[in-house]
């Protein structure tokens, strides 16, 4: 009766050609593409699968870019966020297996789990969408009785109060026919899990710490950063402060520890000098979306235990 989705969770309508061809319009989003690729390789959703389909995924994005499609920024950025995560996972698999100690390793594990969780959630919705589709098609064969009211009953309706002028009708029509304000374009920052982060605020945090007098490593300065975005913001703040000669930077060797110290020459500096042009603050609705999304992920977070 209801057509079950394929065992791999892919939608039955996903292109079933034997070889993966980079059809550019087949996928409705990065998760869709990822699921499609995983099923194409007859893999389960595992870390291995994610690492293996990375190249296909990147190839798909390249192809899209080459084809010069007008591509919505939010879609592209979501694809890129996922591509970056996939690359990390692939790189991690290529490296010798080490101890999980590093902050970066932990961040990678979190990124992987988040991607798994979101992918599994998306797959669940895709599966029920296929069931809904089948039901809609099946139900489409039934036509409801919907006939004009027989005249003798229509005649019983209370006399219509209709005291409108032609001008009022014209005004109503004009209102309805005026194209509505384009709905606020959601630039889809939601997937960045990004609450607004102010570079200026981060500069203030850095200044407060450094003004205690002791030089601090960059690692120490970002140890309490709540998100990648905060790390980035602190880094941007440092660059600004360095330009303004508020701080000094020392690095003993390339890629070595970066040490930051307060410049005694600069006593009149305030964080107000820091530019804020880096981050157009996301609208509240989007911030809300990010939170909601995190809530979604939490709901299926226990999946980790099975990995």
């Amino acid at each position: 009766m209801v057509e079950p989705p394929n065992p791999d969770g892919s939608h039955p309508s996903v292109d079933a050609s034997p070889r993966f061809t980079l059809a550019l319009t087949n996928f409705t989003g990065p998760f869709d593409l990822l699921l499609g690729l995983i099923s194409k390789h007859e893999l389960d959703i595992t870390e291995v699968a994610l690492a293996q389909v990375t190249d296909d995924f990147i190839a798909y994005i390249r192809n899209l870019q080459r084809s010069g499609q007008e591509w919505a920024l939010d879609e592209a950025s979501e694809f890129l966020v996922i591509a970056a995560t996939l690359l990390d996972l692939k790189a991690a698999r290529l490296l010798p297996q080490g101890q999980v100690e590093d902050d970066e390793d932990i961040a990678l594990l979190e990124a992987r789990d988040l991607l798994f969780a979101r992918l599994l959630q998306y797959r669940a919705f895709k599966e029920v969408a296929a069931i809904i589709d089948a039901r809609l098609v099946e139900e489409g064969d039934r036509f409801p009785r919907s006939v004009t009211l027989e005249p003798q009953f229509a005649a019983l309706l209370p006399e219509l109060i209709f005291n409108y002028t032609p001008t009022q009708v014209a005004e109503l029509a004009a209102k309805a026919l005026t194209p509505r304000e384009p709905e606020p374009t959601e630039v889809g920052l939601t997937h960045l899990h990004a609450p607004a982060v102010s570079v200026r605020e981060q500069a203030e945090i850095i200044a407060t710490r450094l003004q205690e007098g002791k030089p601090l490593s960059f690692r120490a300065l970002i140890v309490d950063a709540a998100s990648t975005l905060e790390v980035v913001a602190r880094f941007l703040a440092l660059l600004e402060m360095f330009r303004d000669a508020v701080i000094g930077l020392e690095q003993a060797s390339p890629l070595g520890e970066l040490t930051v110290h307060w410049s005694v020459l600069n006593t009149g500096w305030t964080a107000a000098a820091v530019q804020e042009e880096y981050e157009p603050a996301p609208a509240t609705g989007e911030a809300q979306g990010a939170e909601a999304q995190m809530a979604d992920v939490e709901a299926i977070e226990p999946e980790r235990a099975h990995q």
């Binding site: 009953f153 019983l156 409108y164 194209p179």
Partner: protein, 207 residues
């Protein structure tokens, strides 16, 4: 459209009789024996026989006897009537009081703002399909179109040659209630209504 031959129809549960019922139950306009016969690919006289039998059966007779119907069961709450050159199912007249009570329950003498706005759009864009009005208003207008039709303010004026959807226009009653003689007397919409020229962007086929 090529239809199944009548033996195919006979394989469906209820057969040709049920097929006729299926159509009659959802059509709004009286349907002629010819139309039914050609859609079902059945001989006209067979359709005629089915229609007569159904009418009698709904009335509480069976049509099985060779010499016409004999009283058997109870009548149904609906009846099949041959009017205006076609057949249509109506609620049985005996229950008119109950049906009236049901129809009147919760009916308002005023149009909702959704209905008014839909009416205004139809007035200025007629003939126009429901899908297009929906696209313009951004919400489904099926139920308000039904109300406006019942109220005699709009009516079906044809079908779209491409999509086959029904097209609606305003009625003489609407003009009369508004106090104008023709649609041409409605005030011009502001000629510079921004973006009005883009209205054809609402492509019916995408809805």
């Amino acid at each position: 459209m090529s239809h199944a031959a009548d033996h195919e129809l006979d394989r469906l549960p209820g057969g040709a009789r049920a097929a006729v019922e299926a159509i009659l139950m959802v059509v709004d306009h009286p349907t002629s024996t010819m139309e039914l016969a050609s859609t079902l690919a059945l001989p006209v006289d067979r359709v005629n026989r089915i229609l007569t039998e159904l009418r009698d059966e709904y009335d509480g007779y069976t049509g099985s006897g060779p010499n016409g119907a004999s009283k058997l069961g109870e009548p149904r709450g609906f009846e099949l009537r041959n009017v205006a050159g076609g057949w249509r199912i109506y609620s049985r007249a005996d229950f008119a009081d109950y049906v009236s009570a049901f129809v009147l329950d919760g009916q308002s003498a005023r149009l909702t703002s959704a209905a008014l706005e839909t009416l205004a759009v139809i007035a200025y864009r007629q003939p126009v399909s429901r899908a297009r009005v929906s696209a313009i208003r951004g919400v489904s207008v099926d139920s308000v179109v039904r109300t406006l039709t019942t109220r005699g303010l709009i009516e079906e004026v044809g079908t779209d040659p491409v999509s086959g959807s029904l097209l609606y226009g305003t009625t003489a009653y609407f003009l009369e209630r508004l106090g104008v003689d023709s649609v041409g007397e409605l005030p011009q919409l502001a000629p510079h209504l921004p973006g009005l020229e883009n209205l054809h962007d609402f492509d019916d086929s995408t809805y």
